[in-house]
């Protein structure tokens, strides 16, 4: 009896030690997580690489090469998301001939998770955009276009939450003012809403209600403008409280490195844009650790 008790106790003790050890190590392993976000913008139907004779971008770009890169990165880290910040359409005969069919089909093959809508994505009219939606396995995300009275009603989400390795990533989208940029007969009854107001509403919802660990904005507002009254990504970064990353488009801005701005909470926000035509892919890695392990140091940013 005594012996049996001893064995039981020993087993319990080692269970305690074992579980203690296990939970300690599994805790810290659970804490150290890596989320990779890949992004493109303003690809403008550039499916083929530029020819070697091209004066500005010789031998750069091409969807078949991008597919290889994306697959490599996904093999390294399965916790990878792939986004596009709009202006998928228009710029090569692939669009003129096939109306965006090939662009959407290829993005689906590359397993894009979401895209936002650029002004040129209205170039075949709102019906032209709708016509290609069956070819998209990725989400169309925009929060500041009201499509209620258009054929796109129900096809666009204001935001989407991705849970990757236990990390909740809230992704919302913003689009540029269409009036003056796109013919009304193309965008029809699409209503443009103030992107800053919408961003503040959505990020609050994603942070407080949805408890997201990471908040990403897919923006087609444009990087920065001479006129401060024109909404831009740099201003958005400084006006928001919870957005961690703004993936931009529209201005075809080639940045040397992601721009780091300070938000209303005095936290850092990354603003990135990778030029245009699929010449580059942006890669942002977010590392998470348990509160305990993370407390000593703040967020270290390497760009």
């Amino acid at each position: 009896m005594k012996r049996r008790d001893f064995i039981t106790n020993t087993t319990a003790a080692s269970t305690l030690i074992g579980l203690g050890g296990l939970s300690l190590s599994s805790c810290s392993n659970l804490g150290k997580k890596q989320i990779t976000i890949l992004h493109t913008n303003d690809v403008h139907s550039h499916i083929d690489a530029f020819p070697p004779t091209h004066s500005r971008h010789p031998n750069l770009g091409g969807v078949a090469r991008r597919a290889t890169l994306v697959e490599q990165i996904r093999n390294e880290n399965p916790n990878t998301l792939l986004f596009d910040a709009g202006d998928i359409f228009q710029g090569t005969p692939y669009f003129n001939f096939y109306g965006g069919e090939l662009e959407f089909k290829l993005m689906s093959k590359l397993k894009y998770d979401a895209a936002t809508i650029g002004n040129h994505d209205f170039d075949n009219g709102i019906e032209g955009l709708l016509a290609q939606m069956p070819n998209a396995t990725f989400e169309m995300i925009n929060a500041n276009y009201d499509f209620t009275n258009t054929v796109m009603d129900g096809y666009v989400k204001p935001y989407k939450i991705y849970t990757v390795d236990g990390i909740k990533i809230g992704v919302y989208g913003l689009g540029i003012e269409l009036d003056g940029l796109v013919t009304k007969k193309l965008y029809k009854e699409t209503q443009y809403l103030n992107p800053y107001e919408i961003a503040l509403d959505i990020e609050k919802q994603l942070k407080e209600k949805e408890q997201c660990d990471l908040i990403v904005c897919l923006s087609h507002l444009g990087y920065d403008y001479e006129y401060p009254e024109k909404p831009s990504d740099t201003q958005l970064a400084q006006k928001t409280f919870h957005t961690d990353l703004i993936i931009g488009g529209h201005t075809h801005t080639f940045l040397d490195k992601p721009d780091v701005r300070t938000n209303q909470n005095w936290n850092s926000v990354l603003v990135n844009q990778v030029g245009c035509y699929g010449i580059n892919v942006g890669r942002i890695d977010f590392y998470f650790d348990t509160d305990k392990n993370a407390q000593a140091k703040g967020v270290s940013i390497t760009v």
Binding site: G20, V63, V274, T302
Partner: protein
């Protein structure tokens, strides 16, 4: 914390009463449970961000399945685009004249020639002249064979030809805007002479002096017309007549019609010294 409790174990094990054992088992289960729960509840915090840009260059092999998927689309496009439609004996450039360019003049001439009959049949009126924007002509045409591909390069956007009716005073404003601009905005059907400061000296439309007392019909791209006063070209518009004719298709139809592109950077806009 956990290690303190583990260190207590040998002492506790010596007290081998069943009650103590039970308490101990409960304690172990409870502590382990607490620990697992605390682990589960331990929120992840962002500690590090790394950002970089990856150029898509030839070091990345093409994914075969993607390449194979694109191939039939590419083949069809190339068949259509690369068949020769016309010939350019000299390159058509965007900066070869003082105030005009051969490429810009070709564009404006094409719009005039191709849109005139459509406008006439739709409205019963006669087209007076054409104004386009320099920025809307996106490429030169090199010397040699001219194909539909050239039309796509010069005009990649889905812009349509549209005709606006302008009052005499609005027409004067438009002409002034074009004459004073530092850019070579393409025109056709009109000759503008300015002094060295860009002030109008003489304007002829369809060979006749400009008459401010009448309205004029001006063809342009719907992009400029919809852009309104902010773009600079069109402010007060009396009426609009769409042609539903893409600028690019007008170019392709014109290339099919002519053998040789004979156009020079002439003096249709002339600035006196």
């Amino acid at each position: 914390m956990i290690f303190t409790k583990v260190n207590n174990l040998p002492r506790r094990l010596n007290k081998d009463t069943p009650v103590n054992n039970l308490k101990f088992k409960q304690f172990v289960v409870f502590t382990t449970f607490c620990f697992l729960m605390s682990c589960k509840n331990d929120t992840e915090k962002l500690t590090e961000i790394q950002g970089k840009q990856i150029p898509i260059d030839s070091t990345y092999a093409q994914t075969d399945s993607i390449e194979t998927f694109v191939e039939p689309y590419r083949k069809r496009i190339n068949e259509v685009l690369d068949s020769t439609l016309a010939y350019a004996p000299k390159p058509l450039l965007l900066n070869d004249g003082e105030r005009t360019s051969s490429m810009g003049n070709l564009m404006a001439d094409i719009v005039f020639e191709q849109a005139s009959p459509i406008f006439n049949s739709r409205s019963g009126n006669t087209l007076d002249f054409v104004v386009l924007n320099a920025g809307g002509v996106r490429s030169i045409i090199s010397e040699g064979n001219v194909s539909a591909r050239n039309a796509y390069e010069v005009m990649p956007f889905e812009n349509y030809i549209e005709v606006v009716e302008l009052s005499g005073s609005a027409t004067r404003e438009l002409i002034n805007f074009v004459a004073k601009s530092s850019r070579r905005h393409p025109v056709a059907g009109i000759e503008i002479v300015t002094d060295k400061n860009g002030a109008l000296e003489s304007v002829n439309i369809q060979g006749r002096p400009f008459d401010e007392s009448r309205n004029y019909y001006v063809a342009s791209s719907d992009y400029l017309i919809n852009g309104g006063p902010s773009v600079g070209f069109f402010d007060q518009i009396v009426s609009r007549t769409p042609t539903d004719y893409l600028l690019r298709n007008a170019m392709i139809d014109y290339f099919k019609k002519v053998d040789t592109l004979q156009v020079v950077a002439d003096d249709r806009i002339k600035q006196m010294d």
